[in-house]
């Protein structure tokens, strides 16, 4: 089982190495990634938003929606940690009281 796992992982790593044959060489300035969309960012960041730092321009403007999503991820993480770890005494009763649980379980909607 353990061996099978190691073999599988080795296969994944080997697969990646196999696939990198067709990736651009390290630092190739003519790679597709460096010649297609990114050129626009480099050439226009300053013109479009007076921002010399292209990373910031891409981050907050061109792909601002990613960043917005990312911000939501952070909030979601905080919210998740609180949800997992904390318990709030609800404004509608004490939470661990069996009587309260029974009250919630029975009867119609409050």
């Amino acid at each position: 089982m353990r061996l099978a796992g190691v073999v599988l992982i080795a296969l994944v790593a080997g697969f990646l190495m196999w696939a990198t044959r067709d990736l651009p060489l390290r630092g190739d300035p003519q790679s597709p990634a460096s010649t297609h969309v990114s050129v626009y960012y480099i050439e226009n960041a300053l013109v479009d938003s007076k921002t010399p730092n292209m990373v910031t321009a891409v981050l907050a403007d061109y792909r601002g929606f990613d960043t917005f999503g990312e911000a939501v991820v952070v909030v979601a993480a905080a919210l998740s940690c609180l949800l997992i770890l904390l318990r709030r005494r609800d404004d509608q009763g004490v939470v661990d009281d069996p009587d309260e649980r029974r009250r919630i379980a029975g009867g119609a909607d409050p």
């Binding site: 697969f15 990646l16 196999w18 696939a19 990198t20 044959r21 067709d22 990736l23 651009p24 790679s31 597709p32 990634a33 460096s34 010649t35 297609h36 969309v37 990114s38 626009y40 960012y41 403007d61 061109y62 792909r63 601002g64 929606f65 990613d66 999503g69 990312e70 939501v72 991820v73 909030v75 979601a76 993480a77 919210l79 998740s80 940690c81 609180l82 949800l83 997992i84 904390l86 318990r87 709030r88 005494r89 609800d90 404004d91 509608q92 939470v95 661990d96 069996p98 309260e100 649980r101 029974r102 919630i104 379980a105 029975g106 009867g107 119609a108 909607d109």
Partner: protein
């Protein structure tokens, strides 16, 4: 320019944040805000669907006004309209169901649960709408984070089950991101439309093949494709019912949807079928998953665990639709997304109602509930019939299309698998149906068999009755939905799905 595509996820995000702030003051206010936001986004999704269907054009929305591929694009096309409507609809139903159930099953967690639900829906609808492969990853993780938290707040085993899910989910997200990397470094863009223009020249490129493989593996992990499903039963067994009712119907489906989107809209035609045998692989794994899930579901004593195993099988139907890769098969798979969402949501919510009233989660203990909770149980029967695939419920038609697709593809083994699994699901669902409509207490020997599952100590001292209105109405809505989708399935197909599968024709 129509603002609808942006409105669907952002109204949910806004609702989540406001609900969080309001919830810190009053739990009820928090719920109201979250519910309002979900209803608004459901309205937006309906409007968007109306617009797409009536014009026949997809709505393209450039985020931040940057024309793709410079910026991020949201695309509300037929398929996305289909998914967002489904996602937000399930959201609406569950959010109204949730308060009572969450307060009972996860005391003290309600305040943060509603914003998390809204975030989950936002993430999923964002995944459905985005036209950018990296943006999809971001929304995938929003949905995943919210889901981890929501799934963990149920029973005792919840956190541990969720850690395992989280590790799988992180691996899935990681593989997907790695695939995005391979794609980006080969093609130089992240926009789906742009990619589909560039990739045909790169068909022989190993990196592109690796990208496709990695992305599908990643999404496959997320969608619980057999044999990567093993986290699912534990997670659903320990999650609060309202959460299972929200997550089980839509979460895995959206990952399946993402695979379909890659298959149809990103990679060149034939890439997933001929260059790399991805659809066939997905299909075979799904065929295994269908049998595995259906067989294991039979042996379960815990209602939720049974549903979880059945989910393993049911999500595989969608996978099988992908595997068939012909128009009618894929229509079957896509239709099954909606069908299964409604059925599984219905069944999980019913489990929650039963638990609220009786504290029971094990099937042998459900004896005689037909008398005590007649409406809920009739809804269960509808759900069970749909699961088995009895007309005119929704389940019948998706299976029929899958069967037809299997015939057209000449996939006789898959044909046999679908038929066999229908039989198997008949076995496990009628077992429950029979149990709930029996007279209670006629056979004490059967109730004392004990293994697995938790029975709450707080056995009810009140007479067990019908679920409260806030939980009954959502259940009834879903039950009616199951039938309506079945009867009017062709309207859905001709309005939305036929144009989706059009690239596969000829």
């Amino acid at each position: 320019m129509s603002q609808i595509p942006a409105l669907i996820p952002t109204s949910l995000l806004l609702a989540a944040l406001l609900s969080l702030l309001a919830g810190l003051r009053s739990q009820r206010a928090g719920h109201a805000v979250a519910a309002a936001g979900i209803v608004v986004s459901f309205g937006a999704a309906l409007l968007g669907m109306w617009e797409v269907v009536s014009t026949g054009q997809s709505i393209r929305y450039a985020m931040g006004g940057w024309i793709p591929p410079i910026g991020i694009e949201f695309v509300l096309d037929h398929l996305a309209a289909y998914m967002t409507t489904l996602i937000t609809f399930i959201g609406v139903v569950v959010i109204f169901y949730a308060p009572r159930s969450i307060r009972f099953e996860s005391p003290g967690k309600a305040t943060f649960a509603y914003p998390s639900m809204a975030l989950l829906l936002a993430g999923l609808s964002g995944m459905a709408l985005t036209g950018d492969v990296f943006n999809l990853y971001v929304f995938l993780e929003i949905a995943a984070l919210a889901a981890y938290a929501l799934l963990a707040i149920g029973d005792r085993g919840g956190p541990f089950a969720t850690v395992r899910y989280l590790l799988i989910g992180a691996a899935g997200g990681g593989f997907y991101l790695l695939g995005v990397g391979f794609l980006y470094f080969s093609a130089g863009t992240l926009n789906m439309a742009d990619l589909s223009a560039i990739l045909p020249e790169l068909v022989e490129n190993r990196a592109v093949m690796a990208a496709a493989g990695l992305m599908v593996i990643g999404l496959g992990l997320k969608m619980a494709l057999f044999p990567m499903h093993f986290w699912m039963p534990d997670v659903y067994t320990n999650a609060p019912s309202a959460v299972s009712g929200l997550i089980a119907p839509i979460m895995t489906k959206v990952s399946a949807y993402a695979i379909i989107r890659l298959f149809l809209d990103v990679f060149p035609p034939g890439f997933f079928t001929e260059t790399l045998p991805i659809t066939a692989t997905v299909g075979w794994l799904s065929a295994g998953g269908i049998l595995y899930g259906s067989i294991l579901a039979i042996g379960q004593h815990d209602y939720r665990r049974m549903l979880a195993y059945s989910s393993v099988g049911q999500i595989s139907y969608v996978g099988l639709g992908i595997g068939l890769a012909n128009p009618i098969g894929l229509i079957g798979g896509l239709l099954h997304i909606v069908n299964h969402a409604l059925m599984k949501g219905l069944l999980f919510l019913i489990g929650g109602s039963v638990r609220l009233r009786t504290g029971v989660t094990r099937i042998p203990d459900m004896k005689g509930l037909g008398k005590a909770m007649p409406w809920t149980m009739y809804a269960f029967v509808i759900g069970a019939l749909a699961m088995v695939g009895i007309p005119p419920t929704a389940g019948f038609f998706s299976k029929l299309y899958l069967l037809i697709g299997a015939v057209e593809a000449g996939a006789w083994i898959w044909f046999a698998v679908i038929i066999a699994s229908s039989l198997l699901s008949a076995v496990y669902f009628f077992r429950v149906t029979e149990m709930i409509f029996r007279d209670p207490g006629s056979d004490p020997a059967e109730t004392s068999r004990d293994q697995g599952g938790e029975k709450d100590e707080s056995t009810p001292d009140h007479p067990v009755g019908e679920a409260p209105a806030s939980m009954l109405i959502p259940v009834v809505i879903l039950a009616v939905g199951v039938i309506l989708v079945g009867v009017f399935n062709f309207a859905i197909i001709s309005a939305l799905l036929e144009s989706v599968v059009a690239p596969l024709e000829g």
